[in-house]
Symmetry: C2
Subunit: 427 residues, 2 copies
Amino acid sequence: MKTFQEMSRQELEEMHSKLTVQFEEIKAEGLKLDMSRGKPAPEQLDTAMPMLDILNAGSDMQTENGTDCRNYGIMDGIPEAKRLIAQMLETKPENVIVDGNASLSLMFDTVSHSMTHGVCGSTPWCKLDKVKFLCPAPGYDRHFKVTEYFGIEMITIPMTENGPDMDLVEKYVQEDASVKGIWCVPKYSNPQGYTYSDETVKRFAALEPAAEDFRIYWDNAYCIHDLYEDKSDKLLEILEECEKAGHPDLVFEFASTSKISFAGAGVSAVASSAKNREWFKQSMTVQTIGPDKINQLRHVRYYKDLAGLRAQMSKNSALIRPKFELVIDMLEKELSGLGIGKWTNPLGGYFISFDALEGCAKAIVAKCKEGGMVLTGAGATYPYGVDPKDSNIRIAPSYPSLTEMKEATKLFVLCVKLISIEKLLEK
Amino acid sequence: MKTFQEMSRQELEEMHSKLTVQFEEIKAEGLKLDMSRGKPAPEQLDTAMPMLDILNAGSDMQTENGTDCRNYGIMDGIPEAKRLIAQMLETKPENVIVDGNASLSLMFDTVSHSMTHGVCGSTPWCKLDKVKFLCPAPGYDRHFKVTEYFGIEMITIPMTENGPDMDLVEKYVQEDASVKGIWCVPKYSNPQGYTYSDETVKRFAALEPAAEDFRIYWDNAYCIHDLYEDKSDKLLEILEECEKAGHPDLVFEFASTSKISFAGAGVSAVASSAKNREWFKQSMTVQTIGPDKINQLRHVRYYKDLAGLRAQMSKNSALIRPKFELVIDMLEKELSGLGIGKWTNPLGGYFISFDALEGCAKAIVAKCKEGGMVLTGAGATYPYGVDPKDSNIRIAPSYPSLTEMKEATKLFVLCVKLISIEKLLEK
């Protein structure tokens, strides 16, 4: 098989004509496909519905320490919810603060408090001339939006299969005191599905930041989101590694059950050291009288423990796995060996990352839109929405049905080929 | 009947001895009473329990516009929840943003966003040398804590039965561009239970602020929290008044169902003009993917409309009213005509405000604590926790049982008498 680069102009032009006919046929079908966000599919949400039966008019609404979940009180989460989240994050319950429905809000608030009040007593960031965050990319667009919103300068750090380029991370963190944070999705990273290697985690824990208020924003969003029971990535537990390295305060670890129970109606949490938790509580004491404890209780009574959470994830992955496999199979079959794209094949998480020929991502996403499918905007996976190579595309296979997924991938492959040919013919 | 001031030293001393014996008897009982916070009583929360039956494993989870409440989406609240809250606030559904579990967080976030990003395009407050808020007092301690947390200078505005001293409010707001906000609890104010008169509301709506980014923080926490069906205060609807006065952007109105359904597990909202809502959404777009729509749906399916909310409030007030009446009766019976205290007798809300002789509040609260009862800290109802006259005490009758309430008020009255005598004997 020839790569596209090895083909003649004529061969490419002929192929383009044929593919254009196919594209126009698909376009005429008037598809409305959405692969833009990592949203659970309705059938997936159906599997969590029995949770809504768990609390009813006759339920005992007391926590295990006798607090009435229907009333004010307990700012940092009910004890049994701390224990559940701690099991999920492989840490101690006392490290955990359980909050409201969204870890994104927790992360936003953490940056916001750092802006107005500083971290653990250091200078508020809004008083500093320059604040910088490291952004391993491709990464999660909503992370980048938070730092952009606060006018924080974002520095792109290349991602590798083992995590961010740690030589660069160490250089920036240890030499530049204006670097105050780094966004990490350490397991099944968004969008590549890479999991940080043990060495990467240990190098994070060993960081000696130039800034005392530097923190790692460890968004462990996909901590138990494995696609397979028999093969899954393992992530070293960061809080313990930091403690061992003598840097207990280096990390804020975030998580939620949004992609376990209900998206936007789960519970979120932050896990960190005693000193950091005290800092969180300083602002929380003013910001809130407490989280929704009833929803915390509902989650704990339903899932009980890690085994319960994993049982839920088995149901979820049974529905997501075939979609991932379908996409990967079609990409393999249609694009393998053509030299016009590379893609990841993750064991968990919510995304597949596709790297097109340089300068093609925006055009492919636009072409897909023309054909009836919305993808995440090209560039969104990079700080400021600008992918310097215009190459990365995030594929979110979770939401569409298998049938839609097949249509969607067919269209995607077609658009990749068409745009790649156009790019090669330009030269 | 003589006032305490008219009594002789000897009479006062004799009375003090007698009352001390009574106090020691009560103290010996080892009471553990709590009248510190405006918390619903367990029986009150029981009346809302059927709400937990309303959504179950078989429920249709779609909003009326076809959004799945179990998934991401709809940042500013589901349409039916907007309508419900709009009925409660006597405004239009399109004015309403329905959020998470706590209006306090919404207010905190509003101040926080103003600090970091400014209001509707004006200079971020953190870039200004001085930002001031007007604080009608006595008022709600958690409001004052928010502004104190952000280093905002608080200016005390005396409260009257008709609301804040509007001459002073007008003077500050219209002459001082560093005044950026005012905290208001316009109906059944915390702690006095006063409702702003029509004239007060109209004068608020007519304000011509020196600062373009001045906003009224209108915390309508007790909008439908009447104690009686046949007599209740009426509050003019502020958003419409502001529109009529040509100042549509002057007000942020906050509310929640925390003291309707479940405290800390209700839904909160902010109502405001189109321009202000756009500003709210600018930060919300970054801060969150959306509120807990399942809990919003649960509330709407259960209460349906204003009539449903009022039916809930009837059940609540049937439980709270006797407690208010018991306190008022005992205060009347025991303290009336003695010249050592004044108290409010509100038709709604959660508090009774008591004004002791100047310089006595702290000592009374301390004495009550010695006797086995926790009250809200004296001074808490004033900015910086300092009541210049050391006179105001907030009584929160909702949480204790009627029996406890009787014990508590007996102890309270005793402590007021004892401390007042000690104060008078000092002279």
